[in-house]
């Protein structure tokens, strides 16, 4: 069924009895052209673009729980393309362009809201770095503006401009950045892929790969073995665990990141705001809750929950730029486990095992990448060569010394 104003009206008069499930719940087939492991945003987007862009629709997405149970349903929903490096900026700009057309494309309301993102700067050197970043963004066709303190005062009068340690001097704004309803992204891609023949298999955990003579020809699951010509793995925080089944060690550590939501408030924030002198980012959801987060906890974890020291740190950072936040009550908080790569950038590549492909290393910025990641991974799976915006995301780049090190901080699994 196509969703439209007409279908909405029809169902309103019909007591909403005619809505159908948005995707089927099929039994696994014995064989597919392509299997995608992981029903998060990236896996579902890959399946969608495989079917819609590249005409490959004998595809299954295998998800161990329910789709959207991983990070795609746990993130703070910020989208942006304010990157510096050549290897990153065009990719994230492609992603932002895809977000802009996404809802029409897959006929689903994902609440893409380009309310803008402001990165605050607090010192002269930081301003210079942001000016450079803004220039780099414009080179790839993205929008970027440097705002002075007065303009920001008008937009966000509640910020602590004269903070003794970190006075706010100005900010970098990307007006096309914003937020998206995260689970609707998973559902929209799932529905779009399903309509094009993709089987979405939930409660289907991959427990092993079928590898003979260095060629992967399928997977073992708790619902039986399933064969395929190509297997693409997009399991985010579980990448290390899943690829170990194929005998691979990755340049990735799994860490936990927490997110926080306050009670619902009247509209107070004009868009997304990030602190330049600590780690804190905040936006306001359409329901009114302030949605915010900060750093990862900092130790390996698969627990999907964090500890109190980071809660304190995040709340302190919030108080440092936005003292009014202390008046609102925290409603809920949770954690998600992320695939922290050694340079803070992702991997979209073939593996040394024929027929086995990897999409991983998204750290805590992979939600904004969902459309482009799906598109580029589908391109790689369909054509066996990287898409032009994803040529730097190679698995062997660490060995070659060709890191995509956006922070410029060297090898550590705690970037972005």
């Amino acid at each position: 069924m196509r969703y439209s104003v007409l279908s909405l009206l029809k169902e309103a008069f019909n007591g909403n009895k005619g809505w159908k499930p948005a995707w089927r719940d099929p039994e696994p087939q014995a064989e597919y052209d392509v299997i995608i492991v992981g029903g998060g945003g990236h896996g579902l987007a890959t399946a969608y673009y495989l079917a819609r862009e590249f005409g490959i629709n004998r595809v299954a997405v295998l998800e161990k729980g329910w789709i959207g149970s991983g990070n795609v349903g746990r993130n703070t929903t910020i989208i942006r393309s304010n990157y510096l490096l050549d290897g990153n900026q065009p990719f994230y700009e492609q992603s932002l362009k895809l977000w802009e057309g996404l809802e029409q494309d897959f006929n689903y309301n994902a609440m893409v809201s380009q309310r803008g993102i402001i990165n605050l700067y607090h010192s002269d050197p930081q301003r210079d770095a942001f000016v450079r970043r803004a220039n780099s963004m414009r080179l790839s066709g993205a929008d970027a503006e440097i705002l002075n303190q007065n303009t920001i005062r008008e937009m966000c009068p509640f910020l602590d401009f004269d903070n003794a340690r970190f006075p706010i001097q100005g900010g970098l704004i990307q007006r096309r950045g914003g937020t998206v309803r995260h689970d609707a992204v998973a559902w929209g891609y799932a529905r779009g892929a399903d309509q094009r023949g993709v089987d979405i298999l939930q409660n289907c955990e991959v427990t092993d790969f079928i590898i003979e003579n260095g060629v992967c020809s399928g997977v073992e699951t708790n619902r039986g073995s399933i064969r395929a010509n190509k297997v693409g793995v997009a399991v985010a925080g579980s990448s290390g665990r899943v690829m170990a089944q194929a005998g691979m060690r990755l340049p990735i550590e799994t860490h936990v990141l927490q997110a926080f939501v306050s009670e619902g408030l009247k509209p107070v924030l004009p868009g997304v705001i990030t602190f330049g002198a600590g780690h804190f980012y905040v936006s306001q959801s359409d329901k009114g809750g302030l949605v915010f987060g900060g750093d990862i906890d900092g130790y390996n974890s698969y627990a999907q929950r964090g500890n109190l020291p980071v809660v304190e740190d995040v709340c302190e950072s919030g108080m440092a730029i936005m003292p009014m936040i202390g008046r609102s009550k925290l409603l809920r908080m949770w954690g998600g486990v992320m695939d922290m790569s050694m340079d803070g950038s992702p991997i979209i590549d073939k593996t040394p095992i024929d027929g086995l492909y990897l999409n991983a290393g998204w750290c805590y910025g992979g939600f904004k990448a969902t459309p482009a990641s799906g598109w580029c991974f589908a391109h790689l799976l369909a054509k066996d060569e990287p898409h032009k915006t994803a040529t730097k995301y190679r698995l062997d780049r660490f060995k070659r010394g060709a890191m995509v090190d956006e922070r410029g901080a060297g090898a550590q699994p705690n970037l972005h």
Partner: protein, 95 residues
């Protein structure tokens, strides 16, 4: 998390900084034939275990000792804490 320091007793994890997998104690031999590959694996690749994980913590705001903490990455439960120097000697290092 509370780390039970072998010398100082229970200490809050915020006093420590975290380095990662305890195998990082064993730096490859720089003169070996495949040193380049060994250093690549040492520097970048990780087992990244879900479950029991041996890892290095540094008591930065305490006695500045390095500890090997054995912790379950699925539950955060800590099952043993040893001085890294003891572990290194036991595993064949001279210091």
């Amino acid at each position: 998390m509370i780390i039970n320091h072998p010398l100082l007793g229970p200490r809050d994890a915020t006093e420590f900084s975290y380095l990662g997998d305890a195998s990082l104690m064993h730096r490859p031999e720089w003169q070996s034939d495949d040193a380049e590959n060994q250093f690549y694996e040492y520097q970048y690749l990780r087992d990244n275990k879900a479950g029991i994980h041996r890892e290095l913590w540094y008591h930065e705001q305490g006695d500045r000792s390095w500890l090997v903490v054995t912790r379950n990455t699925l539950t955060h439960e800590i099952s043993s804490v040893e001085l890294a120097s003891d572990v290194a000697r036991r595993e064949g290092r001279s210091r």
